[in-house]
C-alpha cells in the first residue's frame, strides 16, 4: 500500500470543501425548513388549542343558552296551558250560559205554546160544553141555557152585599152613569128589561146600559163599571178543567 501525500492532502481538501458546500446547500437549508415547519406546526397546535378552548367556551355558552331557552319554553308552555285552561273554562261558562239562555227561551216558548194550547182548548171546550149543556137543558128540562145564564147573573146581582152594592153605585156615578154589559150571546129585550129592573132595584137608578156582544167571554155575561165587575161564565169551570189537565200532562211528562 502506497500513500500519495499529494492525493492525501487533496482528499482532505476535497472533504472539507464538500463539507462546506453541503453545509451551505443542504444542512442549513434543510434544517431551517424543518425547524420552520416545526415552528409552524407548533403555532398551529397552539392556535388549535386556543380555538379548541374558544369552541369549548362557545359550547358551554350555547349549552347554558339552550338550557335557558328550554326553561323559558317550559315556562311559556305552562303559561299557555294555564291560559288555555282558563280560556276553556271561560268558554265552557259562556256555552253553559248560552245553553241556559236557549233552554230558558225554549221553556218560555214552550210555556207560551202551552198557554196558547190551553187557551184554545178552553175556547173549544167552552163552546163544546156550552153547546152540549144547551142541548141537554133544552132536551131534558126544556130550559134555555142563555136564559139560565142571565138568571144566574141576576141572582148574583141580587145576592150582592151592601158594601159591594155601595162601591158599585159609587163607581157608576163616578163613571158618568154608564154601565156596560158584555155577553157572548145576544140578550133578548125582555131579559134586558129584567136586568135593568134588577139593577135599578138592587143598586141605583139613573144610569144607562150599553149591551156589547163579546165572543171571548166564554158562554157568560158580565157587568163592567169603572173598574168593578159582576160576572158569570163558564171560565171558572174551565179554569178548573185546565188546572186538572195541566197536572195530568205534567205527571205523564215526568213519567216519560
Amino acid at each position: 500500500m502506497h500513500i500519495d501525500w499529494f492525493v492525501f492532502l487533496a482528499q482532505i481538501f476535497n472533504f472539507l470543501l464538500l463539507m462546506y458546500l453541503l453545509k451551505r446547500f443542504l444542512y442549513g437549508r434543510i434544517i431551517k425548513a424543518m425547524d420552520d415547519r416545526e415552528a409552524k406546526i407548533a403555532a398551529r397546535f397552539a392556535e388549535a388549542e386556543e380555538l379548541k378552548a374558544k369552541a369549548g367556551e362557545a359550547a358551554e355558552h350555547y349549552e347554558k343558552r339552550n338550557q335557558l331557552l328550554n326553561e323559558k319554553k317550559e315556562q311559556m308552555l305552562n303559561e299557555a296551558t294555564m291560559a288555555a285552561d282558563a280560556k276553556r273554562k271561560e268558554l265552557m261558562e259562556k256555552v253553559r250560559a248560552e245553553v241556559d239562555q236557549v233552554k230558558t227561551r225554549w221553556q218560555d216558548m214552550l210555556i207560551r205554546e202551552q198557554d196558547a194550547f190551553f187557551y184554545d182548548l178552553r175556547q173549544r171546550a167552552a163552546k163544546q160544553l156550552y153547546a152540549t149543556a144547551r142541548k141537554a137543558l133544552s132536551d131534558l128540562a126544556d130550559v134555555d141555557l142563555e136564559e139560565r145564564i142571565v138568571d144566574e147573573f141576576l141572582r148574583r146581582v141580587q145576592e150582592l152585599d151592601e158594601e159591594k152594592s155601595v162601591s158599585i153605585r159609587k163607581a157608576i156615578s163616578g163613571g158618568g152613569n154608564r154601565v156596560t154589559i158584555q155577553s157572548a150571546f145576544d140578550i133578548p129585550v125582555p131579559r134586558q128589561v129584567k136586568i135593568e129592573e134588577v139593577l135599578k132595584k138592587q143598586i141605583t137608578d139613573g144610569f144607562t146600559i150599553r149591551y156589547l156582544l163579546e165572543p171571548d167571554i166564554v158562554s157568560g155575561i158580565e157587568l163592567r163599571v169603572n173598574g168593578h165587575k159582576i160576572a158569570w161564565s163558564l171560565n171558572e169551570y174551565l179554569e178548573l178543567l185546565v188546572e186538572s189537565l195541566t197536572e195530568t200532562l205534567q205527571k205523564e211528562a215526568h213519567a216519560a
Binding site: I31, A33, R37
Partner: protein, 241 residues
C-alpha cells in the same frame, strides 16, 4: 478495458495526469464525481424548499436522512446536535454514495483507496480535539490525556492514533476487498453469483458508511462528555461550597 486491474490494489495507482508531484488519479476524479452528485443534487432539491405541509418527495428523502443523522448525534451529545451535522453527515453521505455507486459499471469507489480513508480518518482525528477545545478550552482537553495519572498520556496518544488507523483500514479493507472479491468471482463464476455479491456489497457499503460516521461521532462525543463531566464536577463543587 478495466479501469483498475486486479494487480492494481488501489485506484491511486491509476494515474490520469501528472506533473511534478501533482498527480490526478482515479481516486480524485471519482471523488469529484461523488462531490458533484452530492452538491448538485442538494442544490437542485433545496433551491425550492418548502416549510409548508406539502413538500416534494426529494425533500422528504433529504429530511428523513438529516433527521436520522440528527437523531443519532443527539443520542450521543444530548445537546447541540446541529453543530456536528456537517462533519458526521458529510462523512456518511460521501462514504455511502461512493460505496453505492460501485453498482455502476466502471465506477471505482474512492473509499477503496487507503489515501481517501486515511484522509477522512485524519479529518476525524483533527475534528475530535477541535470540537473538544472549541467547547471547553485547551486546558481541560489536554488535561484529559493525563487522567487518571500522567503515565496514561502515551496510552491516550496511542489510543487516538490507533483508532484513526482502525478507521482508515476498516473502511479501506472492506471496500477494497469487496471489489477484489467481485473481480475474482467474475473470472471464476461469471453468472448470477457476482450479482448476489454486488447486492451484499451495497449492504456492506451502507453499513460501513454508518459505522465510520457513528464511530467518528462516538470519538467526538467521548471527548465532549469527558469535558462535560469536568464541568459538572466544578458546578457541584461550586454549589456545595
Amino acid at each position: 478495458m478495466e479501469v483498475v486491474s486486479l494487480n492494481q490494489i488501489s485506484p491511486d495507482q491509476v494515474i490520469i495526469w501528472s506533473w511534478m508531484f501533482i498527480t490526478l488519479n482515479v481516486t480524485i476524479l471519482y471523488t469529484w464525481l461523488v462531490m458533484a452528485i452530492l452538491v448538485v443534487g442538494s442544490w437542485l432539491i433545496t433551491r425550492n424548499l418548502s416549510s409548508e405541509m406539502n413538500v416534494s418527495r426529494w425533500q422528504h428523502l433529504l429530511e428523513v436522512i438529516i433527521s436520522i443523522i440528527r437523531g443519532e448525534i443527539s443520542e450521543m451529545t444530548k445537546k447541540g446536535a446541529d453543530h456536528y451535522v456537517p462533519l458526521v453527515g458529510t462523512l456518511f453521505l460521501f462514504i455511502c454514495v461512493s460505496n453505492v455507486l460501485v453498482i455502476v459499471p466502471g465506477f471505482v469507489a474512492p473509499t477503496s483507496s487507503i489515501t481517501t480513508t486515511a484522509a477522512l480518518a485524519t479529518c476525524v482525528f483533527i475534528a475530535v480535539p477541535y470540537y473538544g477545545i472549541s467547547r471547553n478550552g485547551i486546558f481541560h482537553y489536554v488535561k484529559e490525556y493525563f487522567q487518571p495519572t500522567f503515565i496514561f498520556f502515551p496510552f491516550h496518544v496511542m489510543g487516538e492514533l490507533s483508532r484513526t488507523l482502525a478507521l482508515t483500514v476498516r473502511l479501506f479493507g472492506n471496500i477494497m476487498s469487496h471489489e477484489k472479491v467481485i473481480g475474482i468471482l467474475l473470472a471464476v463464476t461469471p453468472f448470477l453469483f457476482p450479482v448476489v455479491m454486488q447486492i451484499l456489497g451495497l449492504l456492506i457499503g451502507v453499513i460501513q458508511a454508518y459505522i465510520f460516521s457513528i464511530l467518528s461521532m462516538v470519538y467526538i462525543a467521548s471527548a465532549l462528555s469527558a469535558e462535560d463531566e469536568v464541568h459538572e464536577e466544578v458546578k457541584k463543587e461550586g454549589s456545595t461550597a
